[in-house]
Subunit: 259 residues, 2 copies
């Protein structure tokens, strides 16, 4: 395997499965630390802060730092403030998203009279969704706000079964307005490009590692970096027979990285 | 004009515009009564009972009876009970929809443990929507319930602007499950076919009258009945230049029916 400067790691299905441990994951991280191999985590989840992710990983004996965690909340905030300084934003989402936007200097608006002067509408998964939130998002998008969605994930694996993901909630405003949002998360290449720019790395320096061909691997392919699929989550070896462009590597577990 | 046995009339944009009167509408209904011309009202709205519609029409001096009003709530209830006797249903919608289903003999379920044995999931506009309602609908559809939606209307004209319609809320469960619902309302022909069957009428006996080409007129065309578009609401004369199949009649106002 090439000598990559940075491993970019997906979380759910790669480092753990929901609340279930993946045995090789903590061994893998310890080995990276020992070898001095740099890595970061990349998640489409917009409802957790980097510190929340660090705390969740600790439950599986994976010890890391918030600086190593890239969520779509953090990435959305960077995306907006790169396009405009101190933008006005109507946000549909949970606390982590609103906090990221506020910390990055966005001015969040919530009153009906302010919807007409919004620069952006940002939608992230919101399990406290209401009709009024969806209505306000639709009104602001129709009034000209740029429509951003943290991620297009259709369904969310939970212990109850597959529940509606942010891509499904985003479909309300997309359908009501006829306007397609810009998605921040995987499979869009934006987050990988952001990491490369921030760390001054080139495409050949990066390996994107994840369990989901449709999000992790496609994001890597679109960003022009090498990819490794690990069969501990969503995509099976059989699924890969039907895809056009293959990942660079196929791994049974993360420890195949050292083979 | 041919001697139709039944006029089927759309409501919003045809008999009134939101809270605004259309001056010719009460004159038109009085003239139909005088001539002994039978008529019914047909609406995609699933949040109002027939009696609610009668009360709303009375504000515009249009006096009628609940028996003359066909809502998608009433039609959905007929559709379900025609397919199965006393079906179990998980419903997302407002009181009028749940009441129609209950009155028709449906057994409404709401607990998580019952979602796996639902015959149907029915979605109608619900301005008290929650993530949990959407999650339960998605779980029941994934578990095999037949997915029904009262109507595919994307946006709802209100005094606040165009807000998400039932078609937009339905998109959450459609996107999350990958399963397309069966829609009851216009432009589907189902409600017109139901009226013909109930009243023992043939296609040539019916004239469908409405302001919206995409819903009213297409429903008529698909049901094989004659159609009249009235330019007091959504569709303009200019819009008709781009449509493949023209309505049978084009009216400036409802009173053109008597010309």
């Amino acid at each position: 395997m090439r000598n990559y400067k940075l491993f970019v790691l997906d979380l759910d299905g790669t480092m753990y499965r929901g609340e279930e441990k993946i045995a090789e994951a903590p061994v893998f991280i310890k080995e990276l630390n020992k070898r001095g191999q740099d890595y970061v985590f990349l998640t489409n989840n917009a409802t957790k802060t980097p510190q929340d992710v660090v705390n969740h990983l600790a439950k599986f004996d994976i010890l890391t730092q918030p600086e190593k965690v890239y969520t779509t909340s953090v990435a959305a905030a960077r995306f907006l403030t790169k396009m405009k300084k101190s933008p006005t934003v109507y946000v549909v989402g949970e606390a982590a998203l609103a906090n990221s936007l506020r910390e990055a200097g966005c001015q969040l608006v919530s009153e009906e009279k302010d919807l007409g002067r919004c620069d952006f509408v940002v939608m992230g998964l919101d399990r406290q969704i209401t009709y009024d939130k969806l209505a306000k998002a639709a009104l602001a998008v129709r009034a000209g706000a740029t429509f951003i969605s943290t991620n297009a994930d259709k369904a969310l694996p939970t212990e109850r079964g597959l529940l509606p993901g942010n891509g499904s909630l985003t479909a309300v405003v997309r359908t009501a307005t006829g306007i397609e949002p810009t998605y921040i998360g995987k499979p869009e290449p934006f987050m990988l490009e952001m990491i490369m720019e921030e760390k001054g790395l080139a495409q050949e320096d990066i390996l994107m590692i994840g369990d989901n061909y449709e999000t992790d691997i496609l994001a890597g392919i679109r960003a022009g970096v090498d990819t490794a699929i690990v069969f501990t989550g969503f995509t099976t070896q059989g699924d890969l027979e039907h895809v056009h462009e293959q990942p660079t590597y196929q791994w049974e577990s993360l420890l195949d990285a050292f083979c």
